[in-house]
């Protein structure tokens, strides 16, 4: 059990909707370990503790207090190795455009979340995470 967990990259899912978190975890829980947070502060606390094993951050845009965009920007600065995804029902194009163009977000998942697209996107995110990890290992020239 522990061995599998070690090799399985973990996801951090941030959503204030409890049932949203529950079913997200159920939907992808078979493939990934899912850590849950219901707001930015909780998310930051989890990241401080577990950032080494978290590969992907998935956050809702609308959160109580600081919004998801804010969290993504902070994570991009402090934990750049984590691939960042955003979930939104909000077609607030200006905010999204800015997030995408500053590189704060890797992909945007639109609500309602469908299993197929979530799996595909998560797979791409994990691949991206591995690519980065390899690049980082290569950084000091051999």
């Amino acid at each position: 059990m522990n061995d599998i967990r070690q090799t399985q990259p973990a996801l951090l899912y941030v959503d204030d909707e409890e049932l949203g978190s529950k079913y997200f975890a159920r939907m992808v829980g078979a493939d990934y370990e899912v850590l849950l947070a219901s707001n930015c502060e909780e998310a930051i606390a989890i990241l401080q503790r577990d950032n080494a094993r978290i590969a992907v951050l998935v956050t809702d845009f609308r959160l109580p207090g600081r919004n998801g965009g804010d969290l993504l920007r902070q994570v991009a600065l402090e934990y750049p190795h984590i691939v960042r995804l955003m979930v939104t029902a909000y077609a607030d194009i200006d905010v999204l455009r800015q997030l995408v163009n500053t590189g704060a977000v890797f992909r945007i998942l639109e609500k309602p979340l469908r299993r197929a697209s979530v799996s595909d996107t998560l797979q791409m995110a994990i691949e991206r995470y591995h690519e980065r990890a390899i690049q980082n290992q290569r950084l000091p020239p051999t």
């Binding site: 079913y23 159920r26 029902a89 077609a91």
Partner: protein, 444 residues
Amino acid sequence: MSISQLHTGYETELADFRVTFSRGGAYTAIVLVLLGVGLDYARYPQLQTSFAVARLLVSLLIGGIVMMLGTALGRRLSPWLTLSWLLLPQAMISWMIWQTDGAQSPYYMGLNLAIFASGIALPFGLWQNLVFGVLSCFLYLLACLLPPHGVVPTGTMTVNVLLLLFAAAASAVYTFFNERVRFMLFRLKAEVSEKNAQLEVNNRKLLDIKGQLLQQEKMAAIGTLAAGLLHEVNNPVNFCLMAIEVASEEPAAKAEPALLECLVDAKQGMQRIQHIVSDLKTFAYRKPGAEAEVGTPFLFEKALDSAIRLVAYELRGVAVTRELPADTLVQGDEAAIIGVLINLLSNSVLAMRNAGTSGPAIQISVKWSEQRLHVTVRDNGPGIADENLARVFEPFFTTRDVGQGLGLGLSISYAVVERHGGLLFAESELGSWTSFSFDLSRAP
């Protein structure tokens, strides 16, 4: 209005006035000429018969001129015709003077009377009055000087001629001022009617602005509501759909077709809710500066889908047919155009429902023509009466009962289409059909 324009208008109006006055004056002249038999009876009883014949003849001639005034030609020549009939009694009086005592005859008073009357009662110009006065004098002189009057009492004649000339001058001056007053009155009238027209235009503009403000407020309220709804509804819809998907993958569900069917139906319902909510999205994210939105490209077909979905409840039982070209990319404010479509569709449905149309149907046909997409929404409802058809776009015009709407819908739709450089127009045949059409420009 410039002074020269005013003068033209004044002359036109005066033409009618002149004909009417001339006619009235002529009738008066006929009466007075005929009543003159009383004078003849008192002063020249021996000539009673021949004078009476002359009076009758002159009356008939004046009557003839009055008849000419009624024709188009007579209308144009009215000042000259007036002068002509005025000269007839003068000629008659002069003839009578010549026939009787010449300068000694008191009938010269009759000449004076006519000169005054023409100045006061007839819309004559200064020159016409002067000419009339001088001609009257000339006739009087002839009557005094022509044989058989051998010895002329120069003193009396001079006094009478001068009095005639004075009368002419006085009535000319009177005419001059009278004319000015008349013109001033006309100018005031013109100004008042111009101001009235301006007021009417302003009123209409204010009504339009009021309608637009109400519309903007309404749109803003819908926007706020839609944004809230979007968030509140979307989240539960989101996890319900996820839950249904997770449940569908459970082995128990896969093994049990009845359960799976329930899940599929539940999913379909959720998706429908999600569609409605995402249709509201167009309203929720409207930018305040609607002008900027007019240039945004969108697929008209999608807007139509949204509109039909949003009025789906009202459209129940109505056969909706659509005819669209493959490409419907236009530019404009999508939310506003959806609003126009909703307005047209719900008007149709309401009219058909109220009239109890059997087999209600709405036909939406969309065609490209000269780089513009022409949209027609046509129903087989009760139609619109001709006298109302022209007024349907007026703000606050409604044939519905009080409380059944402000009567703003179509006026706002009209303004929306106008803002898109198009035209919204209505056609109808009472008892058969109504159609509303508008056009949008192709996206660049």
